[in-house]
Subunit: 323 residues, 2 copies
């Protein structure tokens, strides 16, 4: 029986969960808030390396105020003890919470449903909201467990007419400074960044995070190529080989056009970032090539839905989620 406020508190917990990414990786970045009579007594998110868990941080924060309160947690509390700490379902049960509201059940077989059962056995009222993973910042966790692959974000920067270079090949910079800074922030939240072999050879991109204070967050670098890669890079020969990227939950694909098209054609793009500059290039290099969408029906079957749109300087960022 979800209450009117549940969505608001769960969104707040999801916002906290963002702080866990990517430091908690490959563990899921979870957010938790403890509320009583509309007042927040504790909050937490998964710490670097994956422990302590969000619930443990929030309970520690709330202390005895947790008794009789409501816990909002983005993911079902874990039911498995580990050498690194007790099961959260036990911790939460002992704290005497009156109610636990969960964003989504954990597909991890070690928890899947048993976390919830243990809370109910301890007398807590449990509400499962069944939110989609992307609304909870758990897309990477869900993709890992359901598809044994990372969650993939494709970044495209283009003109109004879908070009990434002029007819003479000029491409730097189509989008402005604010878009590029936003792109670096997205990099800082990825576990790995991927470019194609052509981009690697032509641009020798650094693919690091050039934002003050976040330089240490530069993700690992991957190339889609059958050729050689520089030291510190990994190579995969097809988009399907992303399953082999160990410990990578969030992969950002940055181009070029051929690589973008390969991932789109393989239906391996979960989220699309389009940074668009207010300019028409006309007859330039298209942002993507053939992706197997011969008919409009096939194209619309991707089910892209706009999730966010914002103005970045003179540019526009649109974020699409695949249905």
């Amino acid at each position: 029986m979800p209450l009117a406020d549940d969505a608001r508190w769960m969104a707040a917990a999801a916002a906290l969960a963002e702080r866990a990414r990517p430091l908690a990786s490959p563990n899921p970045g979870v957010g938790a808030i403890i509320v009583k009579d509309g007042v927040v007594f504790g909050r937490g998110w998964t710490m670097a390396g994956g422990r302590p868990h969000a619930e443990a941080v929030a309970l520690d924060h709330a202390g005895s105020a947790a008794t009789g309160a409501t816990l909002y947690v983005t993911l079902e509390p874990c039911a498995h003890k580990s050498q690194r700490g007790p099961a959260c379902a036990d911790l939460v049960s002992e704290a005497g919470l009156a109610r636990v509201v969960i964003g989504m059940d954990d597909p991890d077989p070690r928890t899947a449903g048993s976390g919830t059962a243990r809370l109910q056995d301890a007398g807590a009222e449990v509400t499962l909201l069944h939110w989609e993973p992307h609304r909870l910042g758990l897309s990477g966790h869900a993709a890992h467990l359901a598809k044994s692959r990372p969650h993939v974000t494709l970044k495209l920067a283009m003109s109004l007419d879908g070009c990434i270079a002029t007819s003479s090949g000029e491409s730097q910079w189509i989008t402005g400074e604010a878009s590029r800074a936003h792109g670096h922030r997205e990099r800082a939240r990825a576990d790995a960044i991927l470019v194609g072999g052509g981009t690697l050879r032509a641009d020798a991109p650094r693919l690091d995070v050039r934002l003050a204070g976040l330089e240490g967050r530069s993700p690992c670098r991957v190339a889609l190529t059958s050729g050689e890669v520089p030291e510190g890079w990994q190579a995969i020969r097809s988009p399907q080989e992303i399953t082999a990227l160990d410990g990578v939950r969030y992969l950002m694909v940055e181009g070029g056009a051929q690589t973008a098209s390969a991932f789109l054609a393989a239906k391996l793009v979960d989220r699309l970032l389009i940074y668009r500059a207010p300019v028409l290039l006309g007859g330039g290099t298209p942002a993507i090539g053939n992706i197997g969408h011969d008919t409009l029906e096939a194209a619309f079957a991707d089910g892209l839905a706009m999730q966010d749109r914002r103005t970045l300087g003179s540019d526009t960022l649109e974020v699409y989620q695949r249905g």
Copy 2:
């Protein structure tokens, strides 16, 4: 000395001016509001066929309340008498308004400054806001007098990656019903619609307004072609020949890609409507071809600035104004 409220009242007058279009054409569609102590006593817009003028309607509406009030009018009141009515500058002077706020001065040589002078001679305080014509709904009037050509809107409907058809040529319908209805509303506000010869032969478009109650507003039809056109159509052989379209103040260019490119390359697009569907086509037909933008510098020199953005069903409409 513009006051804080002036912008608000002028925007309201500009909204009224919208009602004049296209019925007042080829006369400029003007809006007028008479305000005293924050209360509106009269409002008007240019009537069908161009008379009465907006000021005359608003003054008639206000009656004796106009004395000592402020008139907001989008365009400088006319200074020339005609067989169809007295000069608005005289009418306004006689009504004893304390203040007249004007959106832009009229480039028409019969008025240019003399309307304002006559108001000042009659003792009114005159404030000229110098707004840009597009903010006042006077783009067509300004283009006609400054460039001896209609104001041109280019409409493009495309996918996220800038395509207007799939790789197999399928193009109906990329955008949804709400976008198409909005496109018909834009048609209803144009004096003429233009398509290329290819589109004319391939689609035999009706180019009429298919919105209930607005069927009578279907604009005249023009083709960019060196070939024959059906009865009721006009033909021009180059974008530059739009100067010969008699009485047309607002021209809407609807495509196809070659026609859109010809107008863009000729720098004859003042306003750009992009209806974008949430779909990637990949390797389809580009919305525009080469428009002479070999360098990014040349492309950005167009100075496109976003004027409006709205959601239409699943689609997005972006409106750009050329700088």
